[in-house]
């Protein structure tokens, strides 16, 4: 299913695609964007993402979920894996509070062996140089459903 989603996109230089093939990603409003040859996972702002109303800031969990999705998408994209690998763990450092604005995340495959992959993710909002959070994610690559 995930291969059916990504394959047609590989030859598309620029796209902005909903990730609602996953119900949860659809609920979150996650999108996958490709621009200038780089992949970005986007969480467009909506009021349901707020974790603390006064002043309004994004729920930290939404940023964590966005970063895990960005890591997964980057891994699938770079390594042409056609199944969903198992997430082993995620470690998030929160650097700034998430403003009620769109949030972006981009993953980078640090290392991929035969069995495991390590990715680093950065999330930002209006200013690319001011990350709201960074994360490390490990995936297990043994084929499974």
């Amino acid at each position: 299913m995930i291969a059916d989603f990504l394959s047609p996109l590989r030859n598309t230089p620029e796209f902005d695609q909903s990730l609602d093939i996953s119900p949860y990603a659809g609920l979150m409003g996650f999108r996958l964007r490709r621009q200038d040859g780089r992949l970005t996972t986007v969480m467009p702002y909506h009021a349901d993402l707020i974790g603390s109303p006064f002043p309004p800031v994004l729920h930290g969990g939404t940023i964590a979920a966005l970063m895990e999705m960005a890591a997964l998408m980057q891994l699938l994209w770079d390594r042409k894996i056609n199944y969903i690998p198992k997430t082993i763990d995620i470690t998030i450092d929160y650097l700034r509070s998430g403003q009620p604005q769109d949030c972006f995340a981009r993953g980078h495959v640090f290392r991929q062996g035969r069995r495991f992959a390590t990715l680093h993710v950065q999330a930002w909002q209006a200013d690319t140089d001011k990350p709201v959070a960074t994360a490390m994610v490990h995936f297990q690559l043994t084929a499974q459903g």
Binding site: I21, Y24, G26, L49, S52, G61, A64, E68, T91, Y94
Partner: protein, 133 residues
């Protein structure tokens, strides 16, 4: 917790408190499935449940309303969640410092005693000042 819009969206609810430990539930909801018709709630939803529950445990510890900020959060995914099952988190504060709280939580599926995920977070806490971001 019910004042948190995103926690409301995920349907999170407080179940009980035993001593200092909170038990918080995310009822099964097909909208939260990672893959359609899998019955299994997405990692992102479980991570958010853990983050919310650990934060709530910190809030609960203090008598007055304090400014609580998550510094870091680590989630280990031990098992796939059981299909069509609620996920509950039991929290435990490990250390309450002057400025920092260490807290952890275990996630279970329904009545099962198998831990499916473990969360560990560090929060800072400070006096609430009006207008502070």
């Amino acid at each position: 917790m019910f004042l948190i819009p995103h926690a409301q969206r995920l349907g999170l609810r407080f179940l009980e408190k035993s001593g200092k430990n909170l038990i918080i539930e995310m009822p099964y909801n097909p909208e939260l499935e990672g893959l359609p018709d899998s019955g299994m709630m997405a990692n992102g939803a479980i991570t958010t449940l853990l983050d919310t529950a650990l934060g709530a445990a910190v809030y609960d510890h203090f008598d007055s309303y304090r400014k609580i900020v998550t510094l870091d959060l680590r989630v280990d995914y031990f098992e796939k969640p059981q299909p069509f099952s609620a996920v509950i988190v039991k929290t435990r504060c490990l250390k309450i410092g002057d400025q920092i709280v260490f807290v952890q939580g275990d996630a279970y599926c329904g009545d099962n005693s198998t831990v499916i995920a473990h969360g560990m977070a560090v929060f800072s806490h400070a006096e609430m000042t009006m207008g502070a971001a």
